[in-house]
């Protein structure tokens, strides 16, 4: 069994990032203990289409009343789940959640002034196809204030949870939208140690897929850790 590449700590946030205040008491203080991969982490759960409903991927309809639609700019976010070797990850469970167009979450602990949208749940899930492709239809989420400082705002974002083939590839990240002026101001975004890596979690306007008179497309690829190549797989 070929092992995974070690996690690339040049692009991953440190545990304790003082500008993001909540990390202070929630960050392990001792170094992570490096383990060689064993089946405990080189295997992972397998999902199939029976686990999902046919409409789960479509946030425009999966919570809306018949004939109604959530309020906000109609967009879709699409891309591929790949590994560091640029190999597609097929059949990967991708889950997402987000605030509505006003920046309000459908969550019992969110008390922001912006109203709940009766036609928007704010979550979706799908499996990647054989080429690692996924797609979510949704509304553009709004920015919202958060209590990290006296006047701190989150850029518009969609949370993504992704499974690879190995439990060690498990990833939760956030998808930002290019050009958002809150990106460089946000302490959570800035936990990411390089501008290149921030760009890697910033969706790009995709005019080639934008549907005229209907929906704006954003492209967002998700890159999971790759595996060392073995001789029988060919490659370099």
């Amino acid at each position: 069994m070929s092992g995974l590449y070690p996690r690339d700590w040049s692009v991953q946030p440190a545990a304790n990032t003082p500008d993001y205040r909540t990390t202070k008491f929630r960050s392990p203080t001792r170094p992570l203990v490096r383990l060689e991969n064993t089946p405990s982490d080189s295997t992972g759960p397998v999902f199939n289409h029976d686990d999902l409903g046919p409409d789960d991927w479509n946030l425009l309809t999966n919570f809306a009343r018949p004939g109604e639609s959530p309020i906000g700019p109609r967009i879709f976010v699409h891309g591929r789940v790949l590994d560091e070797n640029a190999r597609p990850v097929p059949n990967a469970l991708v889950e997402c959640w987000q605030a509505n167009a006003g920046g309000r979450y459908r969550h019992k602990v969110d008390t922001y002034l912006a109203p709940i949208d009766p036609n928007f749940g704010g979550c979706g899930r799908t499996l990647t196809d054989s080429e690692g492709r996924y797609r979510f239809h949704t509304v553009q989420p709004g920015a919202y204030p958060w209590p990290n400082g006296p006047n701190t705002w989150r850029p518009a974002h969609v949370h993504f949870s992704v499974f690879g083939e190995a439990f060690a590839q498990r990833l939760i990240t956030q998808c930002y939208f290019e050009g958002d002026p809150f990106i460089p101001l946000c302490a959570i975004v800035q936990t990411i140690p390089s501008a290149e890596a921030v760009d890697g979690v910033t969706a790009k306007l995709d005019m080639s897929e934008t549907v005229p008179h209907d929906m704006v497309a954003y492209r967002f690829d998700i890159i999971l850790r790759g595996r060392h190549r073995t001789w029988h797989e060919g490659g370099l």
Binding site: P13, T17, S40, E84, N85, H107, H159, R170, V201, D221
Partner: protein
């Protein structure tokens, strides 16, 4: 070791945030939308001893992390990871959230076996204030002959559950402090 010849850069992790339930456990967020994944770890046909595991995730100020979500990945009683060599309906994966008031979490499963080393549950913890998901393992109180526990030396005990009553295990996870749980870079 030679540097891997990578073509793409790994996506950066970001915190799951306080609203993780919307995406991964929407009932807890306060609405019904679809059947949630990961409610049944072992399935109805799993062989072996049925167990319950419970605990709290503690932060460095001594407060429960009430918004944490924990995922479990484990083999069946024979030590096989799904999908190969397991009972029909055995996935070996699940997720559980902490109680919003007490921080207590609990799940039911079967006691895992192991092909090598001592039986254990693989756990992955995310929450607001955790920038990248934390991997750890829960071993049983009678664990012996395990290369990972040996490697950990004096910190190995932080990965040992205690048996509360027959078949009920407690595993508190401490993010900081003198008894800080061991987390892995796997």
């Amino acid at each position: 070791m030679t540097r891997p010849n990578k073509e793409r850069v790994e996506s950066a992790s970001q915190t799951a945030g306080p609203y993780v339930h919307i995406g991964l456990a929407p009932t807890a967020a306060g609405f019904e939308i679809y059947e949630e994944a990961g409610r049944d770890i072992a399935g109805p046909n799993a062989e072996g001893e049925r167990i319950r595991v419970e605990g709290v995730v503690w932060d460095g100020a001594g407060e429960p992390v009430r918004d944490a979500l924990i995922e479990v990945w484990q083999p069946n009683a024979a030590g096989n990871y799904a999908p190969d060599g397991v009972e029909a309906g055995f996935r070996g994966w699940g997720r559980v959230i902490c109680d919003f008031d007490t921080g207590e979490w609990a799940f039911e499963t079967v006691r895992p076996g192991a092909k090598e080393g001592a039986p254990h549950l693989n756990l992955w913890i995310v929450a607001r204030g955790i920038n990248i998901g934390l991997h750890t393992r829960m071993y049983f109180p009678d664990a012996t002959e395990d290369p990972v526990l040996t490697q950990l030396g004096a910190r190995a005990h932080t990965l040992l559950a205690t048996e509360q009553t027959t078949g009920v295990y407690r595993f508190d996870i401490r993010l900081q402090g003198t008894q800080e749980t061991v987390f892995f870079d796997v």
